[in-house]
């Protein structure tokens, strides 16, 4: 496949636009042809935010059709569920296990799914639930959760580490570069440890 498709989904205010920027820059630093999209209309007010990153020689338009994402990076569980059909059946879901409830008005119409695990059956090759909020909180700043998620994602994408770190340095506010790098590395370490646990088992 000459193109890798990544869909990122989150809730306005979670930093998914910034994460998209970081991911795009990392791909670019890795020498790949990359296109991204950020459709942020009124999403700043707590709405769903969906962004895309595509890289590879045939990446032209930034839009990723439903059913063609190789990775779905979700910063929130409901948004993961909502965008599951963007994934190819052989795709990977990387999900922050955080739950952000939508307005009560929305909950009147449909319930927040108790457990999204069963929904992912048959919809992806692997579902990685990252305790990103907890890790970010352990660093003292819940807003670092998106960098933790990127760290977990980084093990799947073959960018050199300095491509990622350079991208973080060039994207996030200067005062938070170190924190974001630490969050990113913890996310990667968490994923690696989980891998080892699975292998040991």
């Amino acid at each position: 496949m000459s193109v890798t498709n990544i869909v990122l989904a989150g809730v306005g205010g979670q930093g998914s636009v910034l994460a998209t920027k970081v991911l795009g820059r990392a791909a670019s630093n890795a020498g790949l042809r990359v296109v991204t999209s950020e459709l942020h209309g009124m999403s700043q007010r707590g709405g769903t935010v969906i962004t895309t990153v595509r890289y590879g020689s045939e990446a032209w338009s930034p839009a990723i059709p439903q059913g063609e994402a190789d990775y779905l990076v979700a910063f929130e569980q409901l948004e993961a569920a909502r965008h599951l059909d963007w994934l190819r059946p052989c795709g990977v879901l990387i999900m922050n296990d955080q739950r952000i409830r939508p307005t009560s008005e929305s909950l009147r119409r449909a319930a927040y799914p108790e457990d999204i695990g069963p929904l992912t059956d048959g919809r992806c090759r692997e579902c990685v639930e990252v305790p990103a909020l907890a890790i970010a909180k352990s660093l003292g700043n819940p807003r670092l959760a998106s960098s933790v998620v990127l760290g977990a994602l980084s093990l799947y994408l073959e960018f050199p580490e300095d491509a990622w770190l350079g991208a973080i340095g060039a994207s996030v506010p200067p005062a938070t570069v170190q924190d974001n790098i630490e969050a990113f590395l913890l996310g990667a370490a968490w994923r690696r440890a989980r891998e080892r646990a699975v292998l040991a088992f």
């Binding site: 809730v11 306005g12 920027k21 795009g24 820059r25 670019s28 042809r33 990359v34 296109v35 991204t36 999209s37 950020e38 459709l39 942020h40 209309g41 009124m42 999403s43 700043q44 007010r45 707590g46 709405g47 769903t48 045939e58 032209w60 338009s61 930034p62 839009a63 059709p65 439903q66 059913g67 409901l78 948004e79 569920a81 909502r82 599951l84 059909d85 059946p89 409830r101 939508p102 307005t103 009560s104 008005e105 929305s106 909950l107 009147r108 119409r109 449909a110 319930a111 927040y112 799914p113 929904l119 048959g122 919809r123």
Partner: protein
């Protein structure tokens, strides 16, 4: 040697400085303008254009400004061009409409310094009110149109557009779309071009658009500019040869889709799409037999290509929304994605944008809703006031339209309706184009009320500055214009300010201004909580012991206030979202039904009874009933705000205190009496038939049980227009209201009058129909589109008392006794009656038995002050001679000839507090004593009879299993009242009836 290394280092530094960047289309446009040596950038924020000027301002060297509106922005850019500088004007597609006037004239004038207008179109309307195709402006204005497809092209085209503009003496329209503006890709960099400023030269025949000059200019455009541009257009063509069956002509973002959908097809990509490169197209058409044109929205290219005489095949791609690769492949190749072969996802809650927690706009919209205002809205964050549950916007059209539209509406409406019209507009929008509307109101004898929501920023587009924000685009301090002063200067004499964090005060001021017969402006000034990260105080939490679950706080639509299964309908507050603004604390009036108590009092004080009654009806359709039997927690000392609201009311409405004081506390308003008065007022003054719904719907709802919950559900569903049938097993409607509560507490005339309003509105009553005997759930589901189970809790809870074996007479359910009493059946009670329990049923039993001539003692296990019964009823019971024995529990029944003859009781003392904070009564050893008694009535709670639900798909374990909304898992079956929620008071049952009606309406409207 060393010189070479130095030179190399120099070069590598320069290479690094010019290494490609990952830029968005908008940033690339800014980059292109900067590289072209642009001197001035002007625009008005609007998605998806906003980031262009922000990026240009960051690059430096360019004088950038947010103008008050797009017309001014373009005029500033025209001025800069006239003076010899290169100038960029940016706006979203609808902004070009605002700037159309200068655009069409500068098209005749031409330029001195290059002039580029960027129109950021929004196919698919990600954040716009329409998806107009601004390419059509190019032909109408006779100016060239460029359509880049990628960020790199956006940079190159923008830079080249300035050259083109100067070469052909024309403004250039550069069109981007959302996918390009907000998409990122690698963009090369060039140095900034120096010395682009041209000298100013006076040329009145060019720049003063007198008709004589205009004729000359128009002639030049047709004879010189357009042919020159047609020639230029040939330089903006890219031709991809290929092998496909069909060849494509396309431009802009759709080029990317075509390239991806048909990687091998021949493609002619046009950079300039007005005028067209005639020669390139004709040559391409000659080489390829089959041609198609792919573009979003209008058939702009296609019609022009056809006009060249080229045969173009038609296709069925939509003329609305964005294109996509799958859409193109599906339409052109008939390629349909194979079905995924997996179950569709369940319905998930949507996540629409909402006003932020603590948003200062909320007060006005809450007030509009409570006032029943007809709201002429405007464009900005506050357009979100149109969404449920605020629902407080009737129309919203374009920037600044609210004021003129309100003025126009009032011209036509009858006085009563016209008085309810109000215009609402934000600060940036007011500066943009609201002031002229206000001028019109003043000049043309209007009396509109205009509410300006001033949060000192252009919030929706991401907090850009404006003339009232005090800072400019470059972050410098700027004069801060005062909206109130402008309103006065425009001629509005009545200008008021409101505190956005005083809901009652805001409603009062808006109401007062709307009723005045002159124009008024109300400024609600408070910072944007998002922009300025405002925190008012610690997060608020719900006091579980006090919450009546009326859900009045949900009417605010605050994202921090949640209600869901986890709390079975009791709201809770997400502390991570709450910033302590206190709006919800103000709304909480401790009302069981959720009435806006402060507003009700306000209206009654002003003797606006009909409005007060209508306000009450929104939460409780039976105020005459509730005013008599509700335990009125609203009259407790404190509301959720921790303030003695009674002192506030008493100070504001001394007359209301005189009219409605409670006998016990003469310095306080008895809210219950006000409610009862309104209910009685309506019974005497309003025609019961006047409540028919304005429009009816065909869907029908069957409601089982005509107690307070069923009646309330019926009322609100009928108000929604549905056909409602109310089934009841008894011979008369009202459930517990008729068969449980004695007439001395609730006169039947009052009950009948309020139920008559229901039947007057068209609710069909079928008494004597019992679920499980006369009909079944399956039958009801077949007969109706939705079924609401509201059959209440009628089974006395059979607490086992030793000695009360089967066959023993003289002991039984208090509720059963009350039913006999209310039917006038004779019941032999004997002389001495013991009632066990402390709720209203216990009091009703005691008082009814007392009326039947018995000596009555009520035994309650806790303190008398902890009895759940209404205080007044307790007092009345005592006055009537009922003896209350607190701290007592029954132990054993003594019998004689299988009839109760005595009761052994035991004293208790308060033990450790339980979950509700009340102390659990603990029996005191050795305190047993015996009384002689003829009848024992058990009034210790009731449970629903769920047998009719056996072998149905409706869960029923003690109570009917429902979501917090009242929906059961069984499709189309809902439940409310005690059978589902078990609150136990009439007014809370009414609140659940109202809630379930909303859920049913949502369900039926979604069908």
């Amino acid at each position: 040697m060393s010189t070479t290394t130095g030179r190399n280092r120099e070069r590598s530094k320069r290479d690094e400085a010019l290494r490609p960047l990952l830029l968005s289309g908008n940033e690339a446009i800014a980059r292109g303008a900067w590289e072209a040596g642009a001197a001035v950038g002007a625009g008005y924020p609007g998605t998806p254009s906003t980031e262009i000027l922000e990026a240009l301002s960051r690059l430096g060297d360019v004088d950038c400004e947010w103008s008050p509106n797009e017309k001014v922005a373009l005029e500033v850019a025209v001025g800069a061009s006239l003076a010899g500088g290169r100038a960029l004007a940016t706006m979203k597609h609808v902004g070009v409409n605002v700037a159309a006037d200068p655009l069409f004239s500068v098209a005749y004038m031409g330029v001195n310094g290059g002039l580029v207008l960027v129109s950021a179109d929004d196919p698919g309307m990600h954040s716009s009110q329409n998806e107009q195709d601004n390419r059509l402006y190019a032909r109408a204005a006779r100016i060239p149109l460029l359509e880049p497809a990628t960020p790199e092209e956006a940079r190159r085209y923008t830079a080249a557009a300035f050259e083109l503009s100067e070469r052909c003496d024309t403004p250039v329209l550069l069109r981007t779309t959302t996918q390009l503006s907000h998409g990122r890709a690698e963009v090369a960099r060039r140095e900034r071009q120096a010395g682009t400023r041209r000298p100013y030269r006076k040329d009145a025949r060019k720049n003063v658009v007198l008709p004589a000059h205009g004729r000359m200019r128009h002639d030049l455009i047709e004879t010189r500019r357009i042919p020159q541009l047609e020639h230029e257009a040939e330089r903006w063509v890219e031709c991809f040869e290929g092998s496909g069956d069909v060849a494509f002509i396309t431009a802009g973002v759709p080029f990317l889709y075509v390239r991806e959908a048909f990687p091998d097809a021949p493609v002619l990509k046009l950079g300039m799409t007005y005028p067209l490169p005639r020669a390139a197209i004709l040559a391409f058409a000659e080489r390829h037999g089959r041609l198609m044109v792919i573009e979003e929205l209008e058939p702009w290219l296609e019609e022009q290509v056809r006009a060249l005489g080229v045969r173009v095949e038609t296709h069925g791609l939509p003329r609305t929304g964005e294109l996509s690769v799958p859409l193109i492949r599906a339409e052109l190749l008939g390629e349909r994605r194979p079905p995924a072969g997996r179950a569709p996802l369940p319905p998930l809650p949507v996540r629409p944008p909402a006003l932020c927690p603590g948003c200062s706009h909320r007060a006005a919209f809450y007030a509009f809703n409570e006032l029943g205002a007809i709201v002429s809205g405007d464009i900005g964050c506050y357009t979100l006031g149109a969404t449920a549950p605020l629902d407080a916007m009737d129309a919203c059209m374009n920037m600044g339209a609210s004021i003129g539209m309100a003025h126009g509406m009032k011209k036509v409406m009858p006085a009563e309706e016209a008085q309810r019209v109000v215009a609402v507009i934000g600060d940036s929008t007011f500066f943009h184009s609201g002031i002229t509307g206000l001028l019109d109101v003043v000049y043309n004898h209007g009396n509109s009320t205009v509410v300006v929501l001033d949060n000192r920023t252009t919030a929706m587009t991401g907090h850009q500055g404006h003339p009232g924000s005090g800072r400019d685009l470059n972050g410098r301090e700027a004069p801060r214009l005062d909206i109130a002063a402008i309103a006065r200067a425009v001629g509005v004499a009545d200008v008021r300010e409101i505190d956005a964090y005083d809901l009652a005060g805001a409603a009062r001021t808006i109401d007062d201004a709307m009723r005045a017969d002159h124009p008024s402006v109300i400024v609600a000034r408070a910072p944007c909580v998002l922009a300025e990260k405002v925190t008012f105080g610690p997060a608020v939490h719900v006091d579980v012991a006090k919450c009546t679950e009326c859900q009045a706080c949900l009417r605010l639509g605050c994202p921090a206030i949640q209600v869901d299964e986890s709390s079975r309908g009791r709201p809770w507050i997400d502390a991570s979202l709450c910033n302590g603004c206190s709006h919800c604390q103000q709304v909480c009036a401790n009302c069981n039904a959720g009435i806006d108590v402060p507003r009700m009092l306000e209206l009654v004080a002003q003797e606006r009874y009909r409005e007060a009654f209508d306000l009450v009806l929104r939460a409780n359709p039976f105020p005459a009933i509730a005013g008599r039997i509700c335990p009125h927690p609203c009259e407790a000392d404190l509301n959720a705000l921790g303030r003695d609201q009674h002192a506030d009311f008493a100070a504001r409405y001394p007359q209301l205190v005189r009219d409605f004081r409670s006998p016990e506390t003469p310095d306080r308003i008895s809210i219950r009496l006000v409610e009862r008065f309104l209910g009685d007022w309506a019974i005497y003054n309003l025609d019961a038939a006047g409540f028919a719904p304005r429009e009816t719907r065909s869907a029908s709802v069957g409601i089982v049980g005509s107690g307070p919950a069923g009646l309330a559900a019926a009322w609100y569903l009928r108000r929604h227009g549905f056909a409602v049938t109310l089934y009841d097993e008894h011979d008369g409607p009202g459930g517990m209201l008729r068969h449980g509560i004695p007439e001395f507490r609730l006169p039947r005339a009052t009950l009948d009058a309020e139920i008559a309003r229901l039947t007057g509105a068209g609710v069909e009553l079928r008494c004597g129909t019992r679920l499980g005997r006369d009909t079944t759930l399956a039958q009801l589901r077949a007969d109706h589109d939705a079924v609401v189970l509201a059959f209440g809790a009628w089974r006395g809870q059979g607490v086992r008392i030793e000695g009360a074996d089967a066959g023993v007479t003289g002991i039984g359910s208090g509720l059963e006794y009350l039913q006999h009493y209310n039917h006038g059946d004779a019941v032999a009670l004997g002389r001495r009656v013991a009632v066990i329990g402390g709720g209203n049923t216990a009091m009703d039993c005691a008082r009814a038995a007392r009326r039947a001539g018995a000596d009555v003692t009520v035994y309650y296990r806790r303190a008398a002050s902890e009895m759940p019964a209404i205080v007044e009823e307790l007092d009345d019971a005592r006055t009537e001679g009922v003896v209350i024995e607190p701290f007592t529990v029954p132990v054993r029944v003594l019998t004689h000839d299988s009839h109760v003859s005595g009761l052994v009781l035991q004293r208790t003392e308060p033990g450790a507090p339980d979950a509700s904070g009340r102390r659990t009564p603990v029996p005191v050893a050795g305190s047993e004593f015996t009384i002689e008694v003829d009848t024992v009535m058990l009034a210790i709670g009731e449970s629903p009879d769920l047998r009719p639900l056996e072998s149905t798909d409706v869960p029923h374990d003690g109570r009917i299993g429902v979501r917090f909304t009242g929906a059961t898992p069984a499709a189309g079956v809902f439940a409310c009242g005690d059978a589902a929620f078990g609150h136990g008071t009439v007014t809370q049952a009414i609140a659940t009836g109202r809630r379930v009606a909303d859920a049913v309406a949502l369900h039926l409207e979604g069908k």
